[in-house]
Structures are given as structure tokens and as C-alpha cells.
Symmetry: D3
Subunit: 142 residues, 6 copies
């Protein structure tokens, strides 16, 4: 692959990354700059430029799949932070995000299902979205 | 919990299970009958009756999350079979399902992303849906 | 499920949770209150009220299984903290807990087997149980 | 380590392996003979001779931990087969084994909790132990 | 990305794939053809064309890393088959491959470390490389 | 195993541990001293004394496998810190280490491939090795 094509792939990926993730994704890429610039490049050029940009699944649907994957894998706090923000950016509501993470309990168990909303809590807090009001759900059941 | 409530929870769950998974889910539950009837009961009464039935995420969205989780976890061939069928039942197209599984490659790597569509291939074959025609995608790139 | 039954399931679960986990479990449930109250509800009503309360395995045996699962999964520090406390509450000795976590090394490898006792160390310290005196075990082998 | 000590460690481990696992463990070790004899040696000499033989946890307790680990990890069908047999050998009842595997659902999710009892079903069948009669549990809830 | 560039990336990747994996990799890609041609394309164009082709790690070293990853993840039998063949193709000896898989036991535990050499056994058998003669290793320790 | 043999196995392992890991490994073992001295003993006597010391794979190759396993598993930050140091100790360059971790992206996905170099970044920083200059790789692609 020549230098020119490499640059174009990166620039195209950055546009998709900005559209989906906003600043969070760029911060992750930047944090890799001095230790693994190629990983940063591949996250941008491949993951976003190639994979995220495909029209076969609209951004909102794609984020639902992403939330399921990241919550299930565990150890993805950095990515969950970025992609819970991304989920809000592409139109998922906090209630839908919370519900998607709740659903993880069925297939990946309680620890994965507890860790993910604790990340969501921080993101929602930063964006002034707490507390959620989910009709019919409450802890005291009063 | 009294016997009556237990029965009602099971019956309610069976209705949701039938609506979402069709026969596949019932076969899994039946296969547990003589070794762990309680697990079968909990899959029906809790996973479907309680969790799947919540209106905060419509069935199509819930299946997208489920596909992401199951593909990412690995070792979920039984459940992928049931839930790729379920995904078709609730209105996801084969192309959308294939795309959701493809997306797994970004976060869970190629082996998980390869195993899941091989299950989808069997399901799509049984339902006469192969080959998929995904605009712009082909192997030979000719 | 009507509101009344939902409340009763929650209240029953809280009794089991208090009996097994003490305050630690309640803190986890409370931390979910504003972002995923339903997850808190399900941890209490289903995981404790339904699953933990079953008499087919006494609490001490159940905690041994739980320790094995949590150590093997990795990324379960929150739950290990709660359930190492729970293990002490239901009669496992620090030596037995340490041994159960050591056993994880055989099947889940050294990293999982190292992370779990580092959580146990904090719990044992808080409860004034360190150092353990395990006959025949020592590092210097002197 | 000299040749003599190596032999003694292996022979000691074989005695523990036979006591705990019976023939199943030996079959696994034998299957590794021509491709990784050292792995077979380490399973016997280290995992059984060193780790399983420790008195800090009696065999029945150790199998409970083992069942939790193996079910949670997934992809351990070979080992689950051996250790469900081992669990029966050291005094766990089929109902207790089934319950330990059911408990996995809470922390590792339904797919792991479904795969493990399907292995148990084969083992129990071979040993003429099916169907289990677990008081209060049934699928039809009739 | 235009059609031309897409084709070139695929063709370049196929050359790397053939060099490293031989026929095994092509069979995996072909098996995806009717259900997820894009995944096949990305395996070839990205994983091989971009990632495998980088000169910062020679092919033999890269396969050592790959063997460690695949054995540790579990559920990667398809990929282990391909990459144990690839490891032989790029100059690793059966003894080195067996040793790399044995090393997995330390960090990922016995089940992962047992599954991987059982795949190696099939590959070595097909290529007439069994039994291995590893100096000093034997099961009987006689 | 008698007391004398146990001591010899530990002392032999400590020599291998010091050679490979330097101080980092000893700190991990020391941190286990009061909660699980036997785990510390087994890390030293078995993992290093038995497994790491085998001549079938030279130290540099063994570290490549180790890096792949640890990055793929996730949740191994403690061990990655120790073994990225070890990798430098046995002759791998920072560029080779970075490349091995980058390769993880293909099989274990981006989150695992991002977490590992963030640990490497800390290690390289402590040892004055940043920024890496990898020919042809840069983020801005300018």
C-alpha cells in the first residue's frame, strides 16, 4: 500500500470516528501515539474507516451490537466509555442503553452486567442525564 | 414463592419464548428436562418471562444486542442457532444479521467473528436464504 | 407480574442477600440505583431470592462454587470482594478461601489465580485476619 | 530436577489422579502422549500430585470449586466430563452437581450454564443416574 | 475506497495468506463466501494484507505470538488448525510448537493447554510428524 | 514431597525467575506472601522452575508466546507489566514488543489490543524508551 493510500484511509477513518465517537475516540487513539502508532492507525483506518462506515447496519443498530460485545467481553472499560458516548451521539436514549446493558445479565452473567452500567453511570453523569426515569423500574419497589 | 406463582411465571415465559425463539428455544429447554429442570424453568420464567419481555427495548433491538453478546463470548453455538432464528423471526434481515456478526471482528477478533457466521450459514441454509446478496461485497472482488 | 408480586420477590431476595452477603451486597445494589434500578432489582429478586435461596446446596458449598466461578471469569473484583466476605459469613475459613482461589491456578491459569487472592488480602485485612497461618506453606521454604 | 525425583513426582500424582478422577483422567493424559508428553506429565505431577493433594480443602469441596471454574470458563467439555465423574467419585450427589452447575447461570450467564449440564447429562446417563428427582423442580410446573 | 483499491488490497492479502497459511487459510475464507463475503475479504485484505505483512516481526516470531493468543482464547479450533500448519510452514519445529502450547498452561490453565495440542496432534498426524521425540520428556518417566 | 525437595524446587525457581523477570516477578510473589504463600511458591517452583526453564524454547521465543497469551486473556495488567519487562530483559526490542501486542488485534480484538500497549507505555516510560520510532508508522500519516 502506498503512502498516499495510507493517508487517505486514515483521513476517511477520522471522519467516521468523529461522527460516531466524538472526542472520546480521538483521545484513545492519541494515547497510543508514542507506543503503538500503528494500532492507532488501524483503529482509525480499519475499524472506523472500513468497518463502521458500512451502510448495511445504521449507526444506531451498530452501537447496540457494540454495547453487547463490549459488556460481554469484560475488561473493556475504556471502550465502553467511548461507545456509551457514541450510543448517545447516534440517537440511543439513556434508557435504551441501560436496557441493552441489563440484557447482558442473561447471557454473560451478573458481574459483566454490573460493570458496564457503572461505566454508563459516569458517562450519563458527565452529560447531566441522571437519574434515569425508567417507567415501572425502581429498587424500593414501593 | 408459592407453586401457583411459579406456574404463572413459567407459563408467561413460555409465551414470550414462543414469540421470540419459536421451536428452537423450546428444544433447548426440553433437552435440560431430566438433568436440570430448574435451569429450564429459569431460562423460561426469568430470561424470557422477566428479561426479554421488558418493553424498554423492542424485540429487534434486543436481538441485535443478543447477537453481539453471543458472538463475543464464544462457545455459544447452541444459543447462536436459536437466536439467529429469533433474529429472523423479529424482523432482522439475513444481511443485517451477517453485518452484526461481522462487526464482532473489531472488538472480539477474527476467531469469534468467523465462528458465528458459520452457525448463521446453517440457519440460513435451513430456511432457504443462501447465498446472501450484499451489495458491494464479494470475495473475488472481480 | 403484578406490582405486589414484584415487591414480595424483592423483599424476599433482600432477606437472602442480607443473610449471605451482609452490607457489601446492598452497597452494590445501591450503586446501581440511578442508572439501572432493574439490574439491582434482578440481582436481589432473582439471583438471591430465587437462585441463592435454593436448599439443594447449603450456603457454604454454594460459596465454594461462587469463588471458583468469579476467580475464573476475571474482571470480577467487585463481586469477589462481596463474596469473599460472604464466604466468611457462611462459615468458610480464610485458609479454605485461600485454597479455593489457589485451586483456580490449575484450570484458569496464574493471572486469574493471582488477582483473586489480592482481593482476598484486602478483605482479610479489613477483618483483621492476616497473616494466614497455613501449615506447611511458606514462601522462604526455610 | 533429577530423573528420579521426576519419576517420584509422576508416580505420586498418578495415585492422586486415580483416587479423584478414575479412568477418565488417565485417558486424557494418554491422549497427550505422542504430542505433548510433558503436558501429560505436568497434569499428573503438578496439577494432581501437588495441587489436588493438598489437605487444606477436602476432595468434595475441591470438586465444587472445580465445577464452578470449568463451567464458567467454557470450552472445557473434556475436563467437565472428567470432573463430573470425579465429583460423583468423591461423594457429591447428582442433585448437588446439577445445582452447582445451575448456580453458574448467575455469574457466567445462560450459555455457560446450559453447556455444562449437557455434559453432566451424558455422564449421569452412562452411570444410570437419570432422570434426577429434584424436589420441587419440574419443567411443566404442573 | 474505490473498487480498484479494494481489489488490490484483496490480491495483496491473498499473496500473504498463501505464503503464511497455504491452503488452510483459503478454505476458511471460502467457507465464509456465501454468508459473509466481507468477513472473508477483511481476513484477507486486512488481517493478512495489512497486519501479517508488516516487517517489524518476522513470520516465525509472529506465529509464536499467534499460537499463544489462539490457545489462550479457547474456542479457536479452526484457527489453531490453520496456524499450526502455518507455524510449520514458516519454520517452527513440531517440538517448538508443542512447547509454545505447553507454555499456555501457566497463564491460561490446563483446559486451554490441553485443547490446543489435541488440534496439533491432528495436524502433525496429517503431515506424518508423530510421535514427537522431545528429549527428556516422557509420560512413563521410566 | 519432602521439605528438602520443596526447598530445592523453590530455590531453583527463584534463579529462573530472577533471570527472566528481575525484580518485578519477586514483587508479585512477595505480595502474595501473607494471603497465599503456596501460590507464591507454585509461581516460583512450578511456573518458573519447571515450565520457564525448559530448553525446548529459548527465553526470547517464550516471551513472545507469553505476550500473546497475556494480551489475549485480558485482565492481566500485573503480569503484562512483569513480562513486558521480562521481554526487554531477554532481548526483545520495544518495537518487537509493540508489534506482538499489535498482532493481538487480529485475533482478540481492539479492546485487548489497546489495553496491552497502555501497560507497555508505562514500562517503556520507566525505562526511558519512549517514543518508539517505528519506520513507516505514524498517526498523522503526514
Amino acid at each position: 500500500m502506498d503512502r498516499n493510500e495510507r493517508n487517505e484511509r486514515f483521513e476517511h477513518g477520522m471522519k467516521v470516528l468523529e461522527r460516531v465517537d466524538g472526542e472520546g475516540g480521538q483521545r484513545v487513539v492519541a494515547s497510543l501515539g508514542d507506543v503503538s502508532p500503528e494500532l492507532g492507525h488501524q483503529v482509525v483506518a480499519w475499524a472506523f474507516g472500513d468497518m463502521y462506515d458500512r451502510p448495511q447496519l445504521p449507526p444506531r443498530d451498530r452501537q447496540l451490537v457494540t454495547l453487547g460485545i463490549l459488556a460481554a467481553l469484560g475488561g473493556c472499560e475504556i471502550e465502553l466509555d467511548v461507545h456509551i458516548n457514541a450510543a448517545l451521539n447516534v440517537g440511543l436514549t439513556p434508557t435504551e442503553i441501560s436496557e441493552a446493558l441489563l440484557h447482558t445479565a442473561v447471557y454473560a452473567g451478573m458481574p459483566r452486567a454490573i460493570n458496564a452500567p457503572l461505566v454508563a453511570k459516569r458517562v450519563f453523569e458527565e452529560r447531566g442525564l441522571l437519574p434515569l426515569n425508567i417507567a415501572g423500574d425502581d429498587l424500593t419497589s414501593a
